[in-house]
Symmetry: C2
Subunit: 470 residues, 2 copies
């Protein structure tokens, strides 16, 4: 099935029209139905075609969310939460219409508890806004998916990124949530204690549920002390296997590396060109260490011994901020670097995740696949987690190239599953990866459906994402 065919059922025009009237009455000018705004809220950074909502509510407080869900529940029409639109698998599309809730106006920090290393925020705040706010407290929120995503969106897709190897993913860093359920009621999933055994873990159930079980109204996050010293460096390896061996040894020795990123030779070539680096075109690890002067020195030296043992080149590390920034800017710009390989073409960033013992095999087989099918696709990975991205450069106007891209993604998912991995380590399922979930999780998908049906019997909360209910 082509992704362009994703519809979950017929649109209920009368219900949508009645609900739109109710939105207009309740929210006035904060409810918008112009095409440009609707188009913007179906925008995704994939090639999945946009499916526009029938209107967009600019929410300002939790009460707006309760009222909006109440209206949609009464009329049985879909409601789709929208953070910044940086999700990658069609999570903000409205396949059967209904209404988008834009959270950009709900971006307040509600509470910071510096002694407890936690804060509570509205879901629309972006991670950069949050970290700017926190700077004076000496604390930061570590999860960094690359994009300046909203915290609500990051929670909903169970996002992670470059430093999950040290700080975990959103599942590890959300302490509690408030959310509006399909009945329009607001629940709080946990108190602010660091751990709890009090009943089912609804926090973790909502993290990664992509807005299909409840719409988030606040998120309580764990924070970290800003490291006194950050150091980092780069090390090239003759083969992917050698680079991955260094990663495995680093983890086994318990070196608390903050980031450990694998770039393949083509990705290095693209970064050299785009970011003005001059690195040898070979599998390369970018690493970062967080601590104080003594501890980052210790970590860097230990890592240097590891790379030497695994056949790596000379490992130079530095705590010089400018040099580090230049390096990590290059890492964060891999999307643009990939785009630079064939200007004017589209780039899909897809992801897969395997046990780290299989990472070298999975990346190598994917490189072979890319070459065999005449594709252009550099690879970069969060190697410490076994998670990697392929940035597929292609002409999204050419149906033949789109089909080749879809086929490649399907092979990548099958390859990851064959290695006991997952079709998505951090992007979520959305619409793009629905087709792979049954192969990955079998009967568990039926359990997910039972939960969805119990909590949202009319299927109004972000319908058509993760799985179909047919």
């Amino acid at each position: 099935m082509a992704l362009t065919d994703i519809r979950i059922g017929p649109r209920d025009e009368a219900a949508i029209s009645a609900a739109a009237d109710a939105f207009r009455a309740a929210f006035g000018a904060r409810f918008q139905t112009g095409e440009a705004i609707r188009r913007q809220h179906a925008h995704t950074t994939t090639y999945i075609p946009p499916q526009l909502p029938d209107g967009v509510l600019f929410a300002e407080r939790a009460d707006d969310v309760k009222r909006a869900v109440g209206i949609c529940a009464a009329h049985r029409v879909p409601i789709v939460p929208f953070g910044t639109g940086s999700s990658l698998e069609g999570q903000v599309n409205a396949p059967n219409g209904g209404f988008s809730i834009d959270f950009s106006g709900m971006n307040r920090v509600l509470e910071v508890n510096a002694e407890d290393l936690d804060c509570t925020v509205e879901p629309g705040i972006t991670r950069e806004e949050l970290n700017a706010y926190l700077r004076d407290t000496g604390l930061f929120f570590p999860i960094d998916p690359g994009a300046n995503a909203s915290i609500g969106g990051m929670a909903s897709t169970r996002a992670s990124g470059t430093n999950a190897v040290r700080y975990g993913t959103m599942k590890d860093n959300v302490l509690a949530l408030t959310a509006v359920t399909a009945t329009g009621e607001e629940i709080r999933t946990a108190r602010r204690a660091r751990k709890t055994s009090a009943g089912y873990d609804l926090t973790r159930l909502l993290v990664g549920a992509e807005g299909t079980l409840g719409i988030l109204t606040s998120v309580t996050l764990r924070l970290q002390g800003i490291p006194e010293v950050i150091a980092g460096g780069v090390c090239g390896f003759p083969t992917l296997k050698d680079a991955c061996s260094a990663v495995i040894m680093t983890i086994q020795l318990g070196i608390p590396v903050a980031r450990i990123e694998l770039l393949n030779a083509l990705q290095i070539k693209a970064c050299n060109a785009y970011s003005g680096l001059a690195l040898p075109e070979q599998p390369t690890l970018f690493v970062e260490f967080h601590g104080n002067e003594a501890s980052v020195k210790l970590q860097s030296e230990q890592f240097g011994e590891v790379t030497a043992e695994c056949g790596g080149g000379d490992f130079q590390w530095t705590s010089d901020a400018a040099e580090r920034a230049r390096l990590w800017k290059a890492r964060h710009d891999v999307y643009w670097a990939a785009k630079g390989l064939r200007p004017g073409h589209a780039v899909i960033a897809t992801d897969a995740c395997v046990p780290i013992s299989r990472l070298a095999d999975c990346v190598a087989e994917t490189e072979t696949d890319i070459e065999a099918h005449g594709l252009l696709a550099p690879i970069v990975g969060h190697a410490g987690d076994g998670n990697f991205h392929v940035s597929l450069v292609f002409d999204d106007k050419d149906p033949g190239e789109v089909e080749k891209a879809e086929d490649f993604i399907a092979r990548l998912a099958a390859r990851a599953l064959a290695m006991d991995g997952t079709c998505t380590g951090e992007h979520g399922v959305g619409q793009g990866k629905r087709g792979f979930l049954a192969a990955e999780l079998g009967g568990s998908v039926d359990v997910m459906r039972q939960i969805k049906r119990a909590l949202d019997p009319d299927n109004i909360l972000n319908p058509g994402k993760i799985f179909s209910l047919d």
Copy 2:
């Protein structure tokens, strides 16, 4: 309501009798109905009165679990999983009868993936059995709740313990599960990748569900490298506040302490007497550091600076194994030390967890409460998590003392909730804490009930635990 009154509905004698016949036919001598065995399987380490199952199946493989659940589903009778019986809140009781599944015969290690730092085990294996098995691999499973509990039981109560401050709780260390659902089907909740965004987090939903949503048949765990060097020490403080300030500063500085335990003055007195220590009777921190020689030295020195700044006594640390073992044996023996304060009496170990900024207040108010009510109850806490235990020493044969104990536990729960904490950090809800859940989580408890009803409509899986369905 007194805990002795916990019944969830009438027993269905005919159904239980028919199901027992079916168990006998299916399992022969592995199904036992003698009173001694039934009594042993309702044994709990609390004062909650035992409620015996009608029979016990000694399971040997996942297929036994499927068949047993199938029989119970067909006859609509309860089934209660049993690991080692070390749960503390009546989790293994059978309030309306039905059958216990004993997992002691399902204690195999199914797979160890040393490079991936993971293993898959049957749920009946205890953590000590697992660590003995792993020793030659250089890896260990860090979670240590004190008791030599089964991994399945630890997963089901979302257990943690002394080193959760560094390694997390069961929710952080279970990568995937297989479980038999109420229909008798076996599901696998996740693949073996370190992280995933593929659909609802059923792993975390089953961790902490106390066997009410599915019965575990295998658990895939994250492992850690055995630290090259372990160091530790003890530091006394003039006040609880000072000790807790040192804990907060340690966490904020990111010192990766592996254990940081707070013992109050009475607990130290009890430990001195029971374990032959000679520590000053004051609030005291026991700490442990994991790493290599250089990194534990660094951590210990940093921690020494913290204690000095917070008014602590002289901090001596050592990596001498014998001295460390003596100290931590004393810590692990706090239950017996408490019992030693009044020989022949019972001890309830109860728990609460608050944000760490409130830990000193919560412990101090609890001390005042204990004194005001003429109770005897030393306190020990996993201070880095804000989690603490009160070991209430009392005469469980005296109804007046039982009532005083229940009242104390209720006040402790209310105190923790008033500080935005939880009524249980790691013991679970079981039967003992059902009464506090609504106050803690409000409408979230209704969502839990909806999930339970959807997945187990006949309420056969460990009924009467966590919440009632009335």
